[in-house]
C-alpha cells in the first residue's frame, strides 16, 4: 500500500465530505486491498464488489473513524467483514487456548520459514482463516493486534492461527522437497 505523508489531514478533509480527499485515500489503498482480497476468490467481479462495498462503508462510517488505527487497517477490517458476510458458511472457529502454549515453542523455529514459488499454491489450500492471518501478517505487515482487531479474535489466537498455517506450509514444503 502507498504511504500518504499527511494521511491524518486527508482523512480529516474526507470526514468533512471532501471527495477529492477520499479519492486520494482510495488511490493509496485500492491496489493493496484488491490484491489481498483476490486471494479469497478467483472471481474478479466478486473481488471488485467487495472492494467497492468496503470503500462505500468506509465513506459512510468515516465520521466515526477516530484515527487510533491506521486507515489501511480499518479499511481491511471493513473488507474482511464484506467477505465474511458473503460467505455464509464461513465461520471463524474458536481456538482452544490450551493449544497456545504448546504451539508457542514451535513458533520460533517456524519464524525462519521462507517463501518460494510453490507457497502461493499451498496457501490456496489452507482454510480461509489461516490464509487471512498469514497474508495479513507475513505479506501485508499488520501486527497481531491489528489482525485481532480486523478478524475479531484475540492477539494470542492470531499467533496460534499463524503458527498453524506456517506449520502446514512447512509440512507441504518438506513433502515436496522430500526432506526425511
Amino acid at each position: 500500500m502507498k504511504i500518504i505523508d499527511n494521511e491524518i489531514l486527508i482523512i480529516h478533509r474526507a470526514q468533512k465530505g471532501d471527495q477529492k480527499a477520499f479519492k486520494m485515500l482510495y488511490d493509496a489503498n485500492v491496489v493493496s486491498l484488491f490484491r489481498f482480497m483476490k486471494q479469497f476468490s478467483k472471481n474478479s467481479v466478486e473481488v471488485e464488489e467487495w472492494v467497492q462495498r468496503s470503500f462505500i462503508k468506509a465513506y459512510e462510517h468515516l465520521p466515526t473513524f477516530r484515527g487510533d488505527a491506521k486507515f489501511s487497517s480499518w479499511l481491511f477490517r471493513l473488507g474482511l467483514n464484506e467477505v465474511k458476510m458473503d460467505r455464509r458458511r464461513f465461520a471463524i472457529l474458536p481456538i482452544d487456548n490450551s493449544e497456545i502454549d504448546e504451539m508457542s515453542s514451535e513458533e520460533q523455529n517456524l519464524d525462519q520459514f521462507d517463501c518460494n514459488d510453490m507457497m502461493k499454491a499451498w496457501l490456496g489450500e489452507l482454510d480461509e482463516n489461516k490464509r487471512m492471518v498469514f497474508l495479513l501478517y507475513e505479506v501485508e505487515g499488520f501486527s497481531y493486534y491489528e489482525i485481532a482487531e480486523m478478524l475479531g479474535f484475540g492477539e494470542s489466537n492470531s499467533r496460534t492461527i499463524l503458527t498453524r498455517a506456517k506449520q502446514q506450509l512447512k509440512e507441504k514444503w518438506k513433502k515436496e522437497i522430500k526432506v526425511p
Binding site: Q19, Q52, Y59, V139
Partner: protein
Amino acid sequence: MIESEKYYSKEDEPDFKTRKKMWDKIQKEIYSVKHALFTIPDRRSFLFGIAASIIIYLSSVGVYHLIRDIEERSQPMVIRLDDAYISAISEFERVMHAIITAKAQSSQSLDQINGRKEQLKLLDEAIEELRGETNQRDISPLKRARLRNLYSIKLQILQKMIEQGDIKL
C-alpha cells in the same frame, strides 16, 4: 516477513480500467449518500431526539401535577378551605378596586366614598396583620374565625356601596 511486491503477481492487481470502474461506482454511491437529506444515523438520532423531548415534557408535566396534588392533599381541610376563601376574596378585591377607582374619577359624593375607602383600608390592615400571623400555617380556629369575620365585614361594606349606588356594576 515476505515482501508484498514479490508475493503478489501483476494478475492480482487491478488494472487502470478496473480501478476507474470501481471508483465510478463508489462515487455514484457516495454521491447519493452525501446528498440525502437525512442519512440513516441522522434520521435515527433525530427521531430519538423528538421522542426523548416528548417523554421529558410529559414526565415533567406529570411530576409537577403529582407534586402539586400531593402538596394540596397533605394540607388540613381547614387550611384548604381558608386558602380557597382567601383566593376568592382576593379576586373579588382586585375587581372591586378597579371599579372603585374608576367611579372615584367621576364621583359626585367623594366624601362618602372616601369614608368607605378609609374603612376598607383599616379592614385591610387588620386582615394583613392577622394573615401575617396565620402565614405559618397556624390553624388556630379562633384566628381563622376572626379572619373570616373581617372578610365578612369587608364584603358587607362593599355590598352597601353597591346598594347605595356608589359602585355601579
